[in-house]
């Protein structure tokens, strides 16, 4: 499987501020990166799917204006949570897939706490 890193692992930000999180795939060509939020109730919400050389596709209730994503190459992606509020709390996971591999490998996640 792929090695996927995410940083920071935990972050706390004040309500209304923004924070950026990163996802790095090692030894694997991450042609697709999906960003998820796992709520305290443990449900998965897909935020957006980014495929290299294609437009980033955001799911309903998530926008580029709120969650801008960068996917500049096959090993790295970043996402920013702009103007974070309490409802943005949760574990943000990146799932990478690519090449002949159809499964998705997850990073350890970035846990966001909003005060």
């Amino acid at each position: 499987g792929a090695l996927v890193y995410q940083y920071p692992r935990r972050t706390i930000c004040k309500s209304g501020t923004s924070m950026r999180m990163e996802c790095q795939a090692v030894g694997f060509q991450a042609t697709s990166v999906a960003w998820y939020r796992q709520s305290p109730q443990k449900t998965f919400e897909l935020i957006a799917l980014s495929t290299v050389n294609s437009a980033i596709k955001y799911e309903q209730n998530f926008t580029q204006e709120k969650f801008p994503i960068s996917h500049p190459n096959l090993s790295f992606s970043s996402m920013t949570v702009l103007n974070a509020y309490l409802e943005d709390r949760g574990l943000y996971l990146c799932g990478v897939s690519g090449g002949a591999s159809y499964e998705q490998y997850f990073g350890p996640g970035t846990r966001l706490t909003v005060l």
Partner: protein, 110 residues
């Protein structure tokens, strides 16, 4: 669109009993990929099983599942539950994107 249904939110078992977690799906794709992920406390989801072959049993770490396209199912089974199996289990489907079920929490007690 694609969807995955896990009917049980919580399954509680005594150690040694068999495990069966249900998963059914809906998709327009004739050759979907199905996955089971396991998430232990304070960890991220880890791939447990995967399959795209109809009626072929796939096994890993004592767990097994068989994709049945006729019934759109991919149930997860294990013959004997262990305490360490307590975790969240997610069934997932890959069409254009990966779609997750709502998850089943498995609690195994002594």
């Amino acid at each position: 669109g694609d969807s995955v249904t896990q009917t049980e939110g919580l399954v509680t078992l005594t150690e040694g009993l068999p495990v069966m977690l249900n998963c059914t799906y809906q998709t327009i794709y004739s050759n979907p990929f199905l996955f089971w992920y396991v998430q232990h406390l304070n960890e991220s989801p880890r791939l447990l099983l995967k399959s795209f072959t109809d009626n072929k049993r796939t096994e890993h770490q004592g767990f097994h599942a068989t994709l049945h396209k006729s019934s759109s199912s991919f149930h997860l089974q294990k013959s004997s539950a262990q305490l360490s199996d307590s975790a969240l289990y997610y069934c997932a489907l890959r069409g254009y994107k990966v779609v997750f079920g709502s998850g089943t929490r498995l609690l195994v007690s002594p």
